[in-house]
Each structure stands twice: as structure tokens, then as C-alpha cells.
């Protein structure tokens, strides 16, 4: 799994004994000494941050499960009992609930980094695809987890999302009943959601192992995006430990500061107040909105006038990521050297934020001011409905039109022959986000 030649030499008697039976120490040593490009910037630290996020969610989750009551009558009160009477319970719960948001912040940065530096291109397609599997599982886990406190948003979110399955022609209805464990969302639904919410993180953990296996097999990409030739490995590669353990560690701590600010000082800022109202199947909330990290996909779902069409579009928005390695036709990995695609990329990031904004708004609400323009088909042009549609169009166009065609037409900038070259020639003019310049001192 290490993907490079082992340099581990067992020293003590027990290590030698173990090495011929279960070479677990060798595995760990090789894992930590993985040759890594020396020019990885801070955007590359989010992989380590995500690993820690997953561990935090699993550990806090295990302790929360010891106190949680998965019944419609007991769930809401048990969560509040955790907040009041369980030792350190308020900390466990706020770390877990805010941890989900932190996990998604980190995963979005991580994915956008991969998109920018072309980390999905050969020979790293499997790393990317496994990452997409993790992302999809994360969405599922987060959705299931949000149902567990059994507040108003939990219940109605579950209602809306499970109803999507019912939109599938012919098999929709029976599958819906099978998923919910009955004709309506009830105790059976909550029980199975709890069971699956406990299961999926361990599935994620397994896929993370595969993700890292693939990473250690094909090697790290880097901001320059070139494969490092064997003869330059000595010059351009450094062992993962201690160089990247300390760099990732530093970035992780900065991330933890942000995490702590949310947990200790604004623990409910990322949630919805309605979820502190116990679930009431007879009272629909004024607006049903998912957690912030699912808003862009929720917006895409609502952009399509047809319910089943919306479901297809929403899943396609995630599905398109899986085929990304084959949609991008450019020979150049890093967008540092792709002047045209860079601009489309920046628009793509802004577009994602716009989609999130749309997902939080009512479709009929005006975007600018409080006036109407003219009606286009089924909605006013100055409404979130149409903004969502334009943003959805750009989202898909980026993948299925821009990436294939720009890749063929674009004239890339000159690519350095080695990752040391930009270092020697001073600040890289093209890398606005993260200049890859030398930062040595003394």
C-alpha cells in the first residue's frame, strides 16, 4: 500500500520478530516516509484535516449514541438530556453537530483543490472516484444524522428527501414505503436512520483507506501538476514525515481554532432554529431548508419544474463528478498554466456559492430589490427560480461543455520542467491564489 520502496530496518528483537509475521510497524514506517512533492501548499492540508474530522465525528458519535434514544417519543428529549445532564454532553453534541459543518467546509475545499490542480487526471482517477464515493456517503450520513434529533427540520427534511424516491416512475411508491418502513415517517424510519447513521461512517472509513491506498500508489499531485521524474525524486521529493506532518499539523490547528469558535461561541449559528421545535407531523414549517452544505444540491433539485426531473438533476450533479477525469480533455493538469480554464474555474466557485444562496431562498422571492420584471415561462426573471436555473446550467456546462472543449482549444502557458523551477525563477505570476515562492529564511 505504501507504493514506494521500503526503507524500514527493524532494530529491536520484537520488531524483527513482528516484521516476519505481521509487518505492521513496517507498514506504518513506510506510510509515514512516503516521498511527497516539496511544493504542496496549504490547500493540500485539507486531506489531513478531513481525516481528523472523520475521527472526531466517529468518536463523539459513539459517545452520543450511548445516551441517545432512537424513538419518536424519546429522541428530542434525549438530545436535550445530553445537553443538560450528561457529563460533557453539551460539548460532545456541539462538536458533533458543528463537526458535520466543518467536515463539509473541509471537503469542499479539498474537492475544489483537486479540481483546480487537476488531481483527478491520469494516473489518479481512482483517487478522485473514491473521493466522490466518500462525498456521496458523507451527504447520506449527514442527512440521516440531521433526522435524529427529531426536531421540525429533521422530520420535514426527511419527509421531503424520502419523497424524492417516490417520484421515480413505477417502483417509486413501493420503494418509498420500504425505505420508510411504513406509509409515513415514523418510529420505524427513525430507527433505521439511526442504524444507518451509525453504520455509514465506518463505510466511509473503509473507503478512506482505499482512497489513501490509491494515493500512495500513484503518488501525490502537486500545484505544478507535473509527474516528478525518477531522477529528480531526490531533489523534488521529501518524506511525508516530518515535513508534512508538521505542516498539516499547523494547518489543522488553525482549522481547529475556527472549529472551536463555532462550538464554544456560536454553536447554533449554522443550524436552523426550527430544529429546536419537536417534530410535529401535523404542522409544516414556514420553509423547509436543509443544512447549509446541501443547499446547492437542494437548489438544483428545485430548479427543474418536474419532480422526477429534479431528482435526476440532483443526482446527476453528484454523478457528473465521477466521470470528471474523462470529461477534461486538457493535457495540462494544473490550472495555473491554463489561463482560460482558470477564469471558468473561478466562476464555477462563485456559481457554487450562488447555488447555495438560492437553496436557502424561496424560489418566488425577488433576487434584486422588490420588483418584478417579466414572466419567463413559469416565473419572474427577477426571482430565485431563474437565478437557480442559470446557476444550474453553468454547473453542468462547466463539466460537460467547458472542460471538454476548452481543453482542446486552450493554449496553455509554458509548464516548468520540474517543480523546483518556479522556485528558482521567483514568484509564479500565474498562481494568484497561492504563490509557490520560496519562503526560506536563514
Amino acid at each position: 500500500m505504501s507504493g514506494h520502496e521500503s526503507t524500514y530496518v527493524p532494530k529491536t528483537g520484537i520488531e524483527k520478530w513482528l516484521d516476519t509475521r505481521l509487518p505492521i510497524v513496517r507498514f506504518g514506517a513506510d506510510y509515514m516516509s512516503l516521498p511527497t512533492p516539496k511544493n504542496l501548499n496549504y490547500w493540500y492540508t485539507f486531506g489531513a484535516i478531513l481525516t481528523v474530522c472523520l475521527m472526531i465525528q466517529i468518536i463523539t458519535g459513539i459517545f452520543l449514541a450511548m445516551h441517545y434514544v432512537p424513538t419518536t417519543a424519546g429522541a428530542f428529549a434525549s438530545v436535550e438530556r445530553i445537553m443538560r445532564d450528561v457529563n460533557g454532553g453539551w460539548l460532545l453534541r456541539y462538536v458533533h453537530s458543528n463537526g458535520a459543518s466543518m467536515f463539509f467546509i473541509a471537503v469542499y475545499v479539498h474537492m475544489l483543490r483537486g479540481l483546480y490542480y487537476g488531481s483527478y487526471k491520469a494516473p489518479r482517477e481512482m483517487i478522485w472516484i473514491l473521493g466522490c464515493v466518500i462525498f456521496f456517503l458523507m451527504i447520506a450520513t449527514a442527512f440521516l444524522g440531521y433526522v435524529l434529533p427529531w426536531g421540525q427540520m429533521s422530520y420535514w427534511g426527511a419527509e421531503v428527501i424520502t419523497n424524492l424516491v417516490g417520484a421515480i416512475p413505477l417502483i417509486g411508491e413501493p420503494v418509498l414505503i420500504w425505505l420508510r418502513g411504513g406509509p409515513a415517517i415514523d418510529n420505524a424510519t427513525l430507527n433505521r436512520f439511526f442504524s444507518l447513521h451509525y453504520l455509514l461512517p465506518f463505510v466511509i472509513f473503509g473507503v478512506v483507506v482505499l482512497h489513501l491506498w490509491a494515493l500512495h500508489t500513484s503518488g501525490q499531485n502537486n500545484p505544478v501538476g507535473i509527474l516528478i521524474p525518477k531522477d529528480r525524486a531526490k531533489k523534488d521529493m521529501i518524506p511525508f514525515h516530518p515535513y508534512y506532518t508538521v505542516k498539516d499539523g499547523f494547518a489543522l490547528l488553525l482549522f481547529m481554532i475556527m472549529f472551536a469558535v463555532f462550538v464554544f461561541f456560536m454553536p447554533n449559528a449554522l443550524g436552523h432554529a426550527d430544529n429546536y421545535i419537536p417534530a410535529n407531523p401535523l404542522q409544516t414549517p414556514a420553509a423547509i431548508v436543509p443544512e447549509w452544505y446541501l443547499l446547492p444540491f437542494y437548489a438544483i433539485l428545485r430548479a427543474i419544474p418536474d419532480k422526477f426531473g429534479g431528482v435526476v438533476a440532483m443526482f446527476a450533479a453528484i454523478g457528473v463528478l465521477f466521470v470528471l477525469p474523462w470529461l477534461d480533455t486538457s493535457k495540462v493538469r494544473s490550472m495555473r498554466y491554463r489561463p482560460t480554464m482558470r477564469i471558468f474555474y473561478i466562476f464555477f466557485v462563485i456559481n457554487g456559492l450562488i447555488l447555495g444562496w438560492c437553496g436557502a431562498k424561496l424560489p418566488d422571492a425577488p433576487v434584486i430589490g422588490n420588483f418584478t420584471t417579466f414572466t419567463l415561462i413559469d416565473g419572474d426573471l427577477n426571482s430565485f427560480l431563474w437565478l437557480t436555473r442559470f446557476a444550474t446550467l453553468y454547473y453542468f456546462a462547466f463539466f460537460v461543455v467547458l472542460l471538454p472543449f476548452v481543453g482542446l482549444k486552450e493554449i496553455p502557458l509554458r509548464i516548468p520542467l520540474s517543480i523546483s523551477e518556479p522556485v528558482l525563477s521567483g514568484p509564479d505570476a500565474m498562481s494568484g491564489a497561492v504563490p509557490a515562492q520560496a519562503e526560506k529564511k536563514g
Binding site: E80, R84, D85, K247, P267, L270, D274, L295, V423, Q437
Partner: protein, 286 residues
């Protein structure tokens, strides 16, 4: 040094922007933005004012509890550190003499352990606040169809909770002329709702607010405060809002104080890690 700080800041700002820009906008509209009561517990260093919590408890006990339950709250919680009746001399919240006395005032439904018949007994610190109605249907039936909501977590269940409750309670005004009000309903400008269907006046000047089934219940001097504070409607609203805010999250102050320590630790640890990073990477040009 500066370059890497700048890089880190860039990443941090991007991450924060992602979080903030995507934070859910409050969806429910129609109500007026709550007035600021200037509570002592706001901000990262804010703590509850024990006198205010005691006054707030008295307002809840004598006014609100006639219709609203707080079923997630135990009497012993009143005696926890930071709570309204915390007594440093008490060995534990359940030993707290104020808590014992307050609990004993309540009548708790129970089962007689000898004969198995339903009975009532005085409350103990371990009991939860009793509900004024035996169940939700009874609560709705006694209040014209609208069950008074439980107040246990009310400050977390509304946007800007404490200020909202304060504004709502002290914000009752006469309905503007032109607003049709159904029997059993009251107009309150802070209540979320849409007044358009009930408004006969100018269509561009629909009043903000909504209908609420709760009449204005607070009247001047309705409660006699033990500390001599003048019991104005504004004061009582403020005090009971503070009490509900405390009850919604009794561990809020402990949380913020823990957070200060955690942040101090993280800053020091981050500084040390940064120094290690500089040292480890000293001879690598990258």
C-alpha cells in the same frame, strides 16, 4: 514568515467565506426585527445575572406556568452553578434548600407505591417541572385550539431567541385600523406571519407581524419582586426572557468559559507548531 501567513490567511478566509455565505438565511418572515434588550449573557464573556434569573423564575412561576410547561427542566437544575438558585454552600443542587423548597411547592402526579393507585405528592429536586395540562389535546382544548408551546428550549427555537421573547411579550400594541382580527386571536408585531389576507388598508403598507393566540398577559406590578425591582411590563418581559434563555441552555456560560481556555491552548499550540514547522522546513526550498 509573511508569505506563509498570507497563504494561511487566504485559505482560512476562503473557508470562512464558504461557511458564512452558505449559512441558512432565516426563512420565516413577516415579523418585526426583535428589539435588543441588552442582556448580560450576550457576547463571549457574558454571564447570567442571578438576580434577574430569580426574578424571571418568579414571573414564569406566577404567570407563564399557568399555561406553558417546561418539561425538560428539572428543579435541581435551578441550583446548578450559574443557575437562578445556585448556592455555593449547598453540597449539591439537590441539597440546595431553595431548590428543595421550590420543588416542594409543585404537585407531582405519581403512583402510590403501596397500592398502585394514582396519587399526588410534593415535588423533589429530581422532578421535572410539572406540565399545566395532562396532555397536548387538553392544552389545546383549554386554549381555543392552540396548545401553548413548551418553553424548555424556546430561546433556541426562535431566531435571536431571548430578544424575540422579550420583544414579543413587551411588544403588544393595538391592532392597526384596517386589520381584521378573528376572535381568540391577538395582533403582535413581532410574531411571524403574513397579514396580507386580513388587511383592508393600503396594499403597499401591510403591517408587519402576525396573530398569536396568547393575550397580553403581563400587566404592571403583576408580580411582586423580592428585591424591590419595579415590576414594569418591560422589566418582567426582560427577566422572564433571561430565565428562558438560561433554561434553554443551562450550560451556556460553562461552554463559553471552557471555550476561552480551549482557544488559549489552541493559540499557544498553533504558535509552537508554526515554530516547529519553520525549523523543520528551514533547509527546504519550496
Amino acid at each position: 514568515m509573511t508569505t506563509s501567513i498570507r497563504k494561511v490567511l487566504g485559505v482560512a478566509v476562503a473557508a470562512a467565506a464558504l461557511a458564512v455565505s452558505a449559512a441558512p438565511a432565516s426563512a420565516a418572515g413577516g415579523g418585526k426585527e426583535p428589539r435588543k434588550a441588552g442582556f448580560s449573557f450576550e457576547g463571549p464573556f457574558g454571564t447570567f445575572d442571578q438576580g434577574q434569573l430569580q426574578r424571571g423564575y418568579k414571573v414564569y412561576r406566577e404567570v407563564c406556568s399557568a399555561c406553558h410547561g417546561m418539561e425538560l427542566l428539572s428543579f435541581r437544575t435551578l441550583g446548578e452553578r450559574g443557575g437562578p438558585f445556585y448556592d455555593p454552600k449547598a453540597a449539591s443542587p439537590t441539597d440546595n434548600r431553595f431548590v428543595r423548597a421550590l420543588a416542594a411547592e409543585a404537585t407531582i402526579n405519581d403512583i402510590d407505591t403501596e397500592i398502585g393507585e394514582p396519587m399526588t405528592r410534593p415535588g423533589t429536586p429530581a422532578d421535572k417541572f410539572p406540565n399545566p395540562y395532562p396532555n397536548r389535546i387538553a392544552a389545546a382544548a383549554a386554549n381555543g385550539g392552540a396548545a401553548p408551546p413548551d418553553l424548555s428550549v424556546m430561546a433556541k427555537a426562535r431566531h435571536d431567541g431571548a430578544n424575540y421573547i422579550y420583544s414579543l411579550l413587551s411588544g403588544y400594541v393595538d391592532a392597526p385600523a384596517g386589520l381584521t382580527i378573528n376572535p381568540g386571536q391577538y395582533y403582535n408585531p413581532y410574531m411571524p406571519g403574513d397579514m396580507t389576507p386580513f388587511w383592508t388598508g393600503d396594499h403597499d403598507a401591510v403591517p408587519k407581524g402576525g396573530f398569536i393566540a396568547m393575550p397580553p398577559v403581563l400587566n404592571p406590578d403583576q408580580v411582586t419582586y423580592d428585591d424591590g425591582t419595579a415590576a414594569t411590563v418591560d422589566q418582567m418581559s426582560k427577566d422572564v426572557s433571561a430565565f428562558i434563555a438560561w433554561a434553554s441552555e443551562p450550560k451556556a456560560v460553562e461552554r463559553k468559559q471552557t471555550g476561552m481556555g480551549v482557544l488559549a491552548f489552541l493559540f499557544i499550540f498553533t504558535g509552537l507548531t508554526y515554530a516547529s514547522y519553520r525549523k523543520v522546513w528551514k533547509n527546504v526550498s519550496h
